[in-house]
Symmetry: C2
Subunit: 229 residues, 2 copies
């Protein structure tokens, strides 16, 4: 269970870090981060940063989930990404030295650390593995977003829902998908009502099982075949 406190989280024992961008840090570097970072407990639906504000550092998710989204003209959110334990958020705009064009908010209670821009950039200068890892990560995300764009442009909402659920399966792993209908609709890029109707279809087709808000996938194969590819 998650510690509901501002207790310090030790980087050297952080489970998420192993497979993260900071996995390459040597002991000295880890100790430095550990001494300089700030740890915070976030409640559900708390904001990490807002569109338009200036990046002051990076956020490291120790535990919990964070949605990255943009608000369209009519205020409707478009979820771009859902980040979980081990992921870092907020460094993209930091590099481009521009205000955030996305916002970040917890989806559940979370423990999240903060590393200042200065510390992080220094580490990058002195650590080629970290640097290359970040370049690789940025490139990987660019490819993902190209796929996202093509899906949005060419697939029906039903197909996009299937595609989105496949992504969510990876994120939630063995756990049932636990998102509000509105968030799910904002990830798929559709109206909440449309999303609910399609969930009903999936339920009737035996693809998913729903317990109140939690969604379990029963037939992954069928999801793939609907998503196409």
């Amino acid at each position: 269970m998650l510690e509901k406190s501002h207790k310090h989280i030790t980087c050297s024992t952080c489970v998420g870090r192993k497979n993260s961008l900071l996995g390459s840090l040597c002991n000295d570097e880890i100790d430095h981060v550990n001494a300089h970072k700030a740890c915070n407990y976030y409640k559900k639906h708390q904001s990490l940063f807002l569109e338009g504000s200036f990046p002051r550092g990076v956020f490291c998710i120790n535990e919990g989930m964070v949605k990255i989204f943009q608000r369209g003209d009519e205020g409707k959110e478009q979820i771009i990404h859902i980040a979980k334990s081990g992921e870092m958020v907020g460094f993209r705009s930091m590099f481009s030295e521009t205000p955030y064009r996305v916002a970040a908010e917890t989806l559940e209670e979370s423990n999240i650390c903060f590393i200042s821009k200065e510390d992080f950039l220094n580490m990058m200068d002195s650590n080629p593995v970290l640097r290359n890892g970040i370049i690789k990560e940025l490139s990987r995300e660019l490819s993902d977003r190209a796929d996202f764009i093509t899906n949005m442009a060419q697939k029906s909402v039903r197909e996009r829902l299937a595609f989105t659920m496949i992504i969510l399966l990876d994120i939630y792993e063995k756990e049932p998908i636990n998102l509000s209908r509105e968030d799910l609709a904002n990830f798929v890029g559709t109206a909440t009502e449309t999303l609910i109707r399609l969930l009903k279809d999936f339920k009737e087709e035996g693809i998913i099982e729903v317990h109140t808000r939690k969604i379990s996938v029963l037939n992954k194969e069928k999801l793939f075949s609907i998503a196409g590819k």
Copy 2:
């Protein structure tokens, strides 16, 4: 007029390079690139690389235009970006060490140079300005793609067309927009027929002027107001 030859293009006098990612190179580095790169003349509609192939280096556009696109499930293209003189293409997948997820093809006759992966990565290792420029560029593009996704998800085709034309205005500068209706539709993310109908509307509303395939914008303000923002 464009030289229709495989004549060597000299980096030190390349107009596009000044404002490009390679603008930061010192004389030695430029000489090195100049000696090692390959220059090529491309006809209209020639491919630089295909989806699925492995990156062997980066392409530097000296003159001309290149569309970056994905093919969706039914073979329909989704244009992700249009690159022009001074831009580099093909380095994103090179960093992630994965096959290209997008393809690149000239929209018009072009002179394009090629720098091998090895040379380019060596330059990046030794040149922090280049390296940071690339990180900045990748981050900037990630933001652009987030906007692209939100637009796709939330705007009508009419609004997206206006938005796309604003982007194309930047790309074509003073020149009229010169794209096939199909390419334009594949950039906006709609059917060619729908696009043609909307162009007709824009024409009747006095927003654009059309001479065969070439489109000139008469009322930029109105485009902005339709695009929203």
